[in-house]
Subunit: 267 residues, 2 copies
DNA sequence: CAGTGGTCTAGACCACGCT
DNA sequence: GCGTGGTCTAGACCACTGT
């Protein structure tokens, strides 16, 4: 089954064959793949080469391996959809109610399709000098003190995303926004700012993807071969949409758990 | 330097130390890291363990390795920004000119900040039965014939993205849109549809991230540890924004080459 | 030519899951 | 207890880059 005359290394040739089975549907998600010993016999390779094969497929996010069990085809369908008009719905909710009343929906819980009580929130609030990219997005001098709020969101005990939100300190000092004990807060960021008399009129999001750092892998329980989507968000206030009131630098979401939907109207 | 009593494997401990140097800025992009032999001496590990260390850092997208040269810290800054209002600018251009005249700007060339002549286009046009997800997005019966247009975009001879665009065949048969020899086409997709009397009024984009397939790695020259962003795009026409005229399933962009910017107005 | 990373082998011990 | 994957060693040959 291996072509020794080929330039392609043996472990890649074996990976090619297993990948073909996975992508063709011949080996659907959940299927158990040959054990390393079986690979050694079937392809006439050493243990090390068999392991190299599975290293490749693991890095591609195609398989899961477990000690004592074996190697299995991973289910790669992504789950919840996060729509860009979640912000608009939040605004409508605020206008309708005049003022949000608990237990309200937030963009996060609504995206999950689960109820408020089904998620947990880890949080730490810090006053820190603004990092450079934050200062730039908030139009502040570098080093200006800002409020940094760290969150990890869970749905049904599964971590879904982590984020750091930055606010100009002058804006929020002494307000409920700066009080960790006020969480969970009704209605999400836009509603929180509305209680301070700030009307958010525009949201800007910058989307990137990269491999997770070890700490992110641990906190979000990200399996091998799964990248993260990062969103750098900025909220602008005022009729001219020019006053930055919040930037959530690095919202980090495991890419196997989300689809980001955006709508662009051309009229 | 290695703690043999730790649960953390030796190759991870070495990776932790090198990662710390990279992320702290102690080893900035371009820095040469210790050779495998040096790692063996400095940390008292075997060649295999040293290689495992660099496998980890490679999969995280932190380093590049080259035979005969060594291991180097990769520059991870992402480059061009792709703004969601590129579609709006394209519409404005069409309205202004009445009809696009070459050499025009497209959303693609404008995003590059390069001129039209600096990129090349590989293309194949096929009439195929609509795949399931395409049929659903176009509101067609599964298997309805559609026009599939395959593109690979280059900027300065570097591949930047590949895509497949699907059009309902009834809409475009016999028109210039279905003629491969008409490429490069002035003004991008929206302008092309405008010449058919179709006014695109809404664009929907769904953004995902995953590791690239081998063919994508080859075509787009993607280094190890770099995911791809995929955009599934749908264009809608008509005053009610309800007639799907195009879906580009799987626009694939190496994540180290792009930032996707979206603006959401709340009024 | 010496040094680099890429591939591959044969073997060892371990932690874990299942029966 | 046996089979699984996870870690680690010692050693070999190769292709490529530099001097």
């Amino acid at each position: 089954m291996i072509d020794p005359t080929s330039d392609r290394p043996a472990y890649q040739q074996v990976a090619d064959e297993l990948r073909r089975r996975i992508l063709s549907g011949e080996a659907p998600p959940g299927t158990r793949l040959p054990s390393e010993s079986e690979l050694m016999r079937e392809f006439g390779i050493s243990r090390t080469t068999a392991r190299l094969t599975y290293n490749v497929l693991r890095a591609e996010g195609l398989i899961d391996t477990a000690r004592g069990k074996g190697a299995f085809v991973r289910d790669r369908r992504s789950a919840r959809r996060v729509a860009s008009d979640r912000y608009r719905r939040e605004v409508l909710q605020i206008r309708k109610q005049g003022e949000p009343t608990p237990p309200p929906e937030t963009s996060f819980t609504r995206d999950q399709g689960i109820s408020w009580s089904q998620y947990r929130l880890d949080k730490e609030f810090h006053e820190v000098p603004a990092p450079d990219h934050v200062a730039e997005l908030l139009n502040l001098e570098p080093g200006t003190p800002v409020l940094a709020r760290h969150f990890v969101f869970y749905a049904e005990d599964q971590p879904q995303q982590m984020s750091v939100s930055y606010y100009p300190l002058d804006l929020v000092r002494g307000t409920p926004v700066a009080d960790p004990n006020n969480e969970p807060w009704p209605g999400g960021n836009i509603a929180q700012l509305a209680t301070l008399g700030i009307t958010v009129t525009r949201v800007e999001e910058s989307v990137r993807a990269r491999m997770p750092l070890p700490e992110e892998k641990r906190t979000l329980r990200i399996p091998p071969g799964v990248p993260v989507l990062t969103i750098t968000r900025r909220m602008l206030a005022g009729p001219n949409k020019d006053r930055p009131v919040e930037v959530a630098a690095d919202i980090v979401i495991p890419a196997d758990r989300v689809v980001l939907d955006y709508t662009i109207d051309l009229d």
